[in-house]
């Protein structure tokens, strides 16, 4: 009968929830965290490789949202993208504070490495997954960010460029380099697996 029935928080858009958050609505914060908290936590966990740091940074990100909600413009970017951008900056602050990151040289030596050929036989899918997972952890931070956003969180190139504050072309370039490195890791794993099979 009445079309203006009050909507539950789960039915409201992110922009509406952010406005409610500015007015001190705890339910709006709960709903926003429910929608985007896991994404932020996963991203920070993957790149930072520390669960306690990931929890701390996730909380900081949403506190920034609480205190600077007026800076969010729904027309410029999605809230998830905006939050990941904040998470990245908070994480880098943490890295700078504790001098944790070594900005390793990006993989110039991968030029010319062919990834078209593949091994004929794989020992274990599970082991291959574990190898790639470890390979991602070993990547330089700048490449790891791109792999996590584009491959694991399925961000588009445009969204990743907003989060990383780099052009789309840079995102593509870094993603190619990261995958080349992972392919090398996987190839090395498969080579080791082939040798092991032959020995047996």
């Amino acid at each position: 009968m009445f079309k203006w029935q009050r909507r539950s928080p789960s039915e409201k858009s992110d922009a509406v929830l952010v406005q409610a958050l500015r007015l001190g609505d705890g339910e709006a914060m709960a709903e926003l965290y429910r929608r985007h908290g896991a994404l932020v936590y996963r991203y920070v966990l993957r790149v930072g490789r520390d669960a306690s740091i990931a929890e701390e940074v996730t909380q900081e990100v949403f506190l920034v949202l609480l205190r600077q909600a007026e800076n969010f413009d729904a027309e410029r970017a999605a809230l998830s993208t905006w939050l990941c951008g904040i998470a990245r900056r908070q994480l880098w602050k943490h890295f700078d504070r504790f001098d944790q990151v070594e900005l390793a040289e990006l993989d110039d030596e991968l030029r010319g490495i062919s990834t078209s050929g593949g091994p004929e036989e794989w020992l274990s899918r599970k082991e291959a997954v574990a190898t790639v997972r470890e390979g991602i952890d070993q990547l330089p931070v700048l490449l790891k960010e791109v792999i996590v956003l584009c491959e694991l969180e399925e961000f588009t190139y445009e969204q990743a460029s907003v989060v990383l504050a780099v052009p789309v072309g840079t995102v593509r370039s870094r993603l190619h380099r990261a995958k080349a490195k992972l392919a090398l890791v996987l190839r090395g794993f498969s080579v080791c697996a082939e040798k092991e099979r032959k020995i047996r």
Partner: protein, 197 residues
């Protein structure tokens, strides 16, 4: 199998594994508390600012009213002194006069006592010397007809109020209040004054 394709499959599997990771619940509770606390402190700040603003506005209004009141009082006081003869009102009935108006019989027990034989010449003689016991003729009564009956009214005035009756008052202490008695004719106009204290 093409290694790129194989890598993509593995990355896809890792992505599914990634999506299974949830956000920590403890953070949610802290954030909700922080949201409410932030809003309460922000509201408190806004309320304090509003209260201070209202207080300041109230002080300004009071100051403006005081200035306006003082200005109005000063202006009205000046107007009264220069343009009108103050209305004399009975402060108290006279029990018994201690001194008599020259030319008027001594018995003046109360206000509006009917007198006869009003003699202005006697007043002129008395005004030449300073005698607080006698009434002084008012220069402002020059030209007024002699009243058939007079009354004596006692009132409080300022020294500089005597100027409007034509009397010369020194600028020293001119705002001092006096208790004076005026001789009023039947036409309501004063003829003479004496200072009681």
């Amino acid at each position: 199998m093409n290694s790129d394709r194989y890598l993509d499959e593995i990355l896809s599997e890792l992505a599914q594994e990634q999506q299974r990771i949830g956000a920590p619940e403890a953070v949610a509770a802290r954030l909700i508390d922080e949201t409410r606390l932030e809003h309460t402190s922000a509201s408190a700040c806004r309320n304090r600012a509003l209260v201070m603003g209202l207080r300041f506005a109230l002080v300004l209004i009071c100051v403006a009213i005081c200035i306006a009141g003082i200005t109005y009082w000063r202006l009205s006081d000046t107007d009264t002194a220069t343009n009108t003869i103050p209305v004399l009102r009975v402060v108290k009935p006279l029990p018994k006069p201690e001194a008599a108006v020259v030319g008027i019989p001594l018995e003046i027990p109360a206000v509006r006592h009917t007198q006869r034989n009003w003699n202005k010449n006697h007043l002129a003689a008395a005004s030449a010397g300073h005698n607080p016991e006698v009434f002084l003729a008012l220069p402002s009564s020059e030209g007024l007809p002699e009243p058939a009956s007079v009354s004596v009214l006692q009132t409080r005035i300022h020294r500089d109020d005597l100027r409007q009756f034509g009397l010369d008052v020194s600028p020293f202490d001119q705002s001092r209040a006096l208790l004076a008695e005026f001789v009023i004719g039947e036409d309501g106009l004063p003829r003479a004054v004496r200072i009681v204290r």
